[in-house]
């Protein structure tokens, strides 16, 4: 029998879903790799989604609508975007079963443990199975951590590849074995490769970009992203076997001040020259830019992305000026 596909709206403890023999599907990745992601955004608008709502949410809605084999969705109701609430409701309207998952704002361990246990109840799995899944996934995560290390320490990896392998750790592309083979092949190809020559080292912080040509554009101009903040967090880069602690250390769903601790540490360690702070149009995280600007002592370019999938002329002009400024 084919395994049940379970949609997710951002990184959740996928160990639980895998332990239940189900296949997690990160709807973000399905949306953005669609041949016409812009069309998906338009479909949601035709269905009644407002124009001034983040394109990611609209893309997720249409993606869920398209993939009717996904009848269950784990949605992050706290710690991600509050628009997810309405996304859940509109999907419930069309018969999708929604399982809410909330990251506690204050990173409270007991509350987080309770959320994970409730998720385990819904999927009918115990800790032994979940920890078994974690061990399997950690084997792959460690290899992706190595890709990240090779990015900033050995200068062997492009910003896009760094983004891609890390971002795919949210669901392991629904097939950990196949994804691991991809990772292995990529690592094998890096052996013997010469170091990259971009002089300017950049950090990319914020949610993953809705446009996919950002990294190439930067590299054509002699700058390379050596730190993708959120994407790296999706790999849960913390050496602990305690699953609850793992998702408590995971910075993305918690407040900006906790996220900044990771950002400050990494930009220092990776000898970054400038920071690109990406915020999606209409996202509450745009407000946090003022905190980022006060706390980081590095040149910052704030980028706003709206529709998929290419950089617009204004954004390119701003990137040009920023790179020029760092030279």
């Amino acid at each position: 029998m084919k395994s049940r596909r379970v949609g997710i709206t951002t990184t959740v403890p996928v160990e639980v879903i895998y332990a239940a023999g189900c296949i997690p599907v990160d709807l973000n990745n399905v949306f953005i790799t669609d041949p016409n992601p812009g069309g998906l955004v338009e479909e949601a608008e035709l269905a009644g989604y407002p124009r001034n709502v983040c394109a990611w949410i609209k893309g997720l809605y249409s993606t869920a609508l398209r993939h009717r084999d996904i009848r269950t969705l784990v949605a992050v109701t706290q710690g991600d975007c509050s628009n997810t609430h309405a996304l859940m409701e509109t999907l419930e309207l069309i018969g999708v079963e929604v399982i809410p998952f909330a990251y506690p704002f204050d990173r409270d361990r007991d509350l987080l443990a309770l959320q994970i246990e409730k998720l385990m109840d819904r999927f009918g799995v115990d800790w032994a199975a979940v920890n078994g899944a974690r061990e399997r996934l950690d084997q792959i995560r460690r290899k992706v951590w190595e890709i990240d290390r090779l990015t900033w320490q050995e200068n062997l990896v492009s910003g896009w590849d760094n983004h891609l392998y890390q971002v795919n750790c949210s669901d392991f592309k629904g097939d950990p074995d196949a994804f691991e083979r991809e990772v292995d092949e990529f690592l094998a190809r890096l052996k013997g490769a010469g170091p990259r020559r971009e002089k300017i080292r950049l950090a990319y912080i914020g949610v993953p970009p809705i446009m996919d040509d950002l990294y190439d554009y930067l590299e054509e101009r002699g700058a390379r992203v050596v730190y993708n903040e959120t994407q790296r967090q999706f790999t849960l880069p913390f050496e602990t076997e305690d699953l609850v602690e793992r998702y408590r250390l995971y910075s993305y769903p918690y407040g900006i001040f906790y996220r900044l601790e990771d950002i400050v540490r990494e930009v220092e360690r990776r000898r970054v020259h400038g920071v690109i702070h990406y915020a999606q149009s209409f996202c509450f995280r745009q407000i946090e830019d003022l905190i980022v600007r006060q706390r980081l002592r590095l040149p910052i370019l704030t980028l706003e992305g709206d529709k998929p999938n290419r950089l617009d002329a204004r954004t390119r002009m701003r990137l040009d000026a920023f790179i020029e400024m760092l030279q």
């Binding site: 709206d306 204004r314 002009m317 000026a321 020029e324 400024m325």
Partner: protein, 257 residues
Amino acid sequence: MYCGVDLGSRNVKVALMDEEGRLEFFKFDTVAFYREHGRLEEGQLAVDLSALLPAGTKPRVVVSTGYGRQTVALKGARVIPEIKAHVLGAVHLTGLSDFTLLDLGGQDSKVALVRGGRLIDFQTNDKCAASTGRYLENMAAVLNISLDELSRHHQNPVDLSSTCAIFGETELIGKVLEGHPIGSLAAGVNYTIFKRIRAMLLRLFSDTLVFTGGVAQNAALREILAKELGVRVVVPDHPQYTGAVGCCVEAKLGSEK
């Protein structure tokens, strides 16, 4: 002879600089420039500059910048980022090295912080052109006055929102209906520009504000900026050619290296 070309949204501005630094300026309507003088060659815009400029003009180096360069690269020209061009031009034209640069063009608003003659931070407008030349032209047309007349008024402004360049017209018509004098209406329009750029200017504040771009010709706005921010406002001669001059400076620097 060095040639700087600023491919703007409304006009293409060309500056020529001779070895002694003497400047000459030329302006062309952007659409006419592309349609009549340009042709695409291998994805680049080929323009016969010698046909457009005075006879015998033979620039050693051509440097270009501007919004247009995102769609077309000028053939045979070295391209530099717009904000860099404006900073180079502003430093050259004013002789200043520490200031905040405000450039308001046809569609764009840019604010840059310059220290020691170098760009250290910048902001640009979001996806709205409600603080630019095109907006002022539209509002002057609604009031049926010239841009010159519009730029004379900054006293007793009517209160207008500053969120949309197009809905602003309807709002202005409402104020006309209320019977406000033309001076207050015009002052209200000029104030909307200030309101939209105030936050950017405060974030990148300096005691001296160098104001460039076509909108810098608006005397009322210069008054408003000086009064509201308590800064010295410096407008170079021919402020709309600042980007083109910056390109000449870059061309000269490049060939001296």
